[in-house]
Assembly symmetry: C2
Homo-oligomer: 363 residues x 2
């Protein structure tokens, strides 16, 4: 069966595809009101938060920009902890909006070390906020968010977390761990199409909002909160993605949060073990930090990524993806989040087991 094995957009379940074809409704009418509220409540349940949950029309990167322009002022010192391309992207956003970025980068394939973060916070007492990544999509590494958050909380700093490729698939109890701003994206584990970002906002974050001086309009979280009180969005939302979420989040809730996390854990492990069984090396260096939503694997010597991915598509209708940034041309990546089963990953590795040897790879 054809498979989209990239870390987002992810395949959509048939039930979700079915509701995408529902006729348009008034985004300021009663039917939409009920849908937005149901989706918001389910998102809160899966984020494991009682904080405000705001749904913005835009890509995940828009959610990152929203966090930046609503929490900070130009010149604010921000610790930006990066373990890959998406951590780097957040640092670029912070810099684009004029914050004073203290960037802490960890080696590709490694998680952020809480002790190094602690030292950075000690060395820079004037830091206002810390930006972390839950799950780095470029390397397939999941940070120990609980440990990082604990350190950051010792210094009483605002925590902004890019949870785009992790939330909803990898356990991250936002309130218990004290994440002030957590950002999700509809096209990841949520089993919905791309085009909406989710941002949870803690009471402490609202205090930052009250003082933040960056220019903002479209991404204004205060305006989003005002409109949510009347079950609406400030601007015309992507109504069909809300349709999709009414179905997909119900599916996740019915499966049960722990079961969803367990399924991703099982599948992630299967993917990594399959790679190792074929003698391939993952980018993540310590399995303790291996991502359960995406696996990044070094290309064997002599195997060209473009040819390999083309063969996978042509022969098996399986779409994998390549490396980003410094890893471009050096790795391939398999996405396994959202609507995915063990069988899917088995088939993917069976296909790789045919393609790689054909291309000259010997274990």
């Amino acid at each position: 069966m054809a498979q989209l094995r990239i870390p987002g957009p992810t395949p959509l379940p048939p039930e979700v595809l079915a509701i995408m074809g529902k006729q348009m409704i008034n985004h300021r009418g009663a039917e939409f009101h009920g849908m937005l509220t149901a989706v918001t409540n389910n998102l809160k349940a899966i984020f494991q938060t009682k904080n405000d949950m705001l749904i913005l029309t835009g890509s995940g990167t828009g959610g990152m920009e929203a966090a930046t322009v609503n929490m900070l002022s130009p010149g604010d010192k921000v610790l930006s902890v990066s373990i890959g391309v998406f951590g780097d992207r957040f640092a670029s956003i912070l810099a684009a909006f004029g914050t004073n970025v203290v960037k802490l980068s960890f080696e590709m394939g490694k998680a952020a070390d809480p002790e190094v973060v602690r030292k950075s916070l000690k060395d820079n007492p004037d830091i206002k906020a810390v930006v972390i990544t839950q799950n780095e999509t470029s390397t397939g590494v999941t940070n120990d968010v609980q440990a990082l958050a604990k350190v950051i909380k010792e210094f009483d700093k605002l925590i902004i977390m890019d949870g785009i490729s992790g939330l909803g698939s990898i356990n991250c109890p936002v309130d218990e761990w004290g994440i002030d701003i957590a950002i999700g994206g509809s096209q990841k584990g949520w089993m919905a199409p791309p085009g909406m970002a989710f941002v949870s906002v803690s009471p402490k974050a609202w205090e930052y909002y009250a003082k933040a001086k960056m220019s903002r309009f479209y991404w204004d979280l205060g305006k989003a909160k005002q409109f949510l009180a009347k079950e609406e969005n400030p601007w015309t939302p992507a109504v069909n993605i809300i349709y999709a979420l009414t179905v997909s989040l119900d599916m996740l809730m019915k499966e049960g949060l722990q079961n969803v996390f367990d399924r991703h854990a099982k599948i992630g492990k299967l993917c990594r073990e399959s790679a190792k069984a074929m003698g391939l090396k993952t980018v993540v260096t310590d399995d303790k930090y291996a991502s359960n939503t995406v696996t990044s694997i070094y290309l064997p010597t002599g195997i060209d990524y473009k040819a390999m991915s083309k063969n996978m598509r042509d022969e098996f209708k399986i779409t994998i993806t390549g490396g980003q940034g410094a890893l471009d041309g050096k790795i391939f990546r398999i996405g396994h989040l959202g609507y995915v089963s063990e069988q899917d990953i088995k088939e993917c590795w069976q296909a790789l087991g045919v393609i790689l040897p054909k291309m000259g790879y010997k274990k």
Copy 2:
């Protein structure tokens, strides 16, 4: 038949609904590449422009914000010509990002007077750009964009046009009239769901871009242009809306641009004449400027908007909408753009012909 008669989101044709349920694809793969290029080319044809056409994931308001942050620097003097709520919104965006807004407001129901714009430009020689609205959705007024653009060009200023509720339905040849930035929104005459904005960018606008100092990241039009060169978007786009546009824009192209404009003109006239035939007064004061995509009509004395719209929904499954801003509670609005026929408008007025007298209205 159930009808969504609001000025966006608009009803979707069955062909568009059908493709919304297509399974997800890789937004960086060949199939998507072809789709994005086809959609971009069709949009250019309907905008009647050879300028760059950039498709952003976001609401129309996001397109307005994109125009602002890509063209201007804080402190820039901008003439913001408003004929209603959406003109006011653009002025608010300009102010939020620190420009020096010279606001020129015209009376509700009237179009912008080119001579008054000329005087403003004479009085303020340091103005850098002029922001106009093609079609004001709150009042149902279409500006004489050609005349306005002619005056603005005399002073060699950048022209930014909110064409969200007009482009694709009301003739506006972007290149011939010299509109540097024209903004559209997917949920309007384009017969696609909400969630994407279209921005055309002239060579002169790129000169402004090169000098503009506002902070930007998500909405960066330069980045969008770079990625479009490889048939992609910088951030994960709303893939399903691109699906919809592949079908809906083909439908518009097959109908023929002039036929699409003529259909809207005919339907707009029918809507206004139906209102007058019932003794109702439109907000637009001069039919020369009446909008062919939305009609705003004063509520008869004693008729409550909420009760009336509820009756229309309950009895006829027709959704109309109310007034915004100063017109809230004073008017009702009928949208007639995109997927709409004369028959739809006839049915809508037949329904109003039942509901209004039942509520005590006498002509």
